[in-house]
Symmetry: C2
Subunit: 200 residues, 2 copies
């Protein structure tokens, strides 16, 4: 059965997003990364910046300060925290997209949200710390923080968010159909493997 939905989770700096984009292009599937943020912004009235910062990251700041900064006061959240409300809306957006069209969805616990769909292929991309550090400096430049610290911080946030909303361990192979070390195989080979398995 060919796979019409590909979810791609990725360690920061592993090239997972580049891989996801190339897979979507090769398969002619819709691609959802920032595009999902825009969709959720439309559905909620949340500021896209808020969604980008919090859609994959567990509560780390005061909900009240965030809520007052970003959330349209006219929206009703039914007593849920801003984070939980964002999760529910984002989850609904992912379910809607998956029903509507062939797609590649990056991150956002989409693997768990679409866990039981037989027409989905769930992928996790990782790479050793040194390779990722080299990649983020090359692509995004230096910053005040050491690249290793930036990687750990972002991965920890993604991991805590995943645990918080799904109860599962982010990066545990048993949550995905296919996990690849992008440094070992290279970006192009990873794309080729995923496209091949999607077509099977």
């Amino acid at each position: 059965m060919s796979k019409r939905i590909i979810t791609i989770s990725r360690q920061f700096g592993s090239g997972g997003r580049t891989i996801a984009k190339a897979v979507a292009e090769k398969l002619g599937y819709a691609y959802y990364d920032k595009e999902l943020i825009e969709k959720v912004a439309e559905m909620t009235g949340f500021d896209p910046k808020y969604i980008e910062e919090n859609g994959e990251y567990a509560p780390g700041k005061s909900i009240f300060s965030l809520a007052s900064s970003y959330i349209s006061s006219s929206r009703v959240m039914g007593g849920m925290s801003a984070y939980d409300y964002l999760w529910v809306v984002q989850r609904n957006a992912i379910l809607e997209i998956a029903d509507k069209e062939n797609c590649v969805i990056v991150g956002r616990c989409a693997d768990q949200i679409l866990k039981d769909r037989e027409d989905a292929l769930h992928v996790y991309i990782h790479a050793p710390l040194e390779a990722r550090a080299e990649r983020i400096v090359r692509l995004y430049g230096e910053s005040e923080k050491k690249p290793e610290e930036r990687l750990k911080e972002k991965d920890t946030k993604r991991s805590v968010n995943y645990k918080h909303f799904t109860g599962e361990v982010w990066g545990d192979s048993r949550n995905y159909d296919l996990c690849l070390n992008s440094e070992k195989f290279g970006i192009e080979k990873c794309v080729e493997l995923i496209v091949g398995l999607a077509k099977d």
Copy 2:
């Protein structure tokens, strides 16, 4: 760079051993599973039954009772426990095999022992609980224990053993180059993928 060493870790009942054997045959590589037990038995004088029961499983019974049952009293273990001694000998056997010949090695923390070798491909095979339960009953028959219990017991032992000797989490995708859900892809496709990546 083609991979001359393939390590295959596997959840019990996932078909990982069947996949490993087929990969070895297709590549013309030496295959080490029970064969490793025989090698370690020769090196230590340990009873093969003892090695099979304990080579992948963390201490669960009294070392003294095991030692007195199985271990040749003429062997010197340099003050180490029987488990630690077995680990060291098994580790040395794996290093020796990997230096000597192209090989497929099943389990026994070989992925961590051969972690830094560029000519190695580290694979983890898993499958959902229900699929594995069906498989073990089909292959090994019923037993007094429910298949789900047998699976959990064996996987827990492998997991504890891995943690004990490597400090890492068994089944965490970041410990392997390639992780596959054998139920999603099927045994044959898994073999094809691994063989393809070994030749690259």
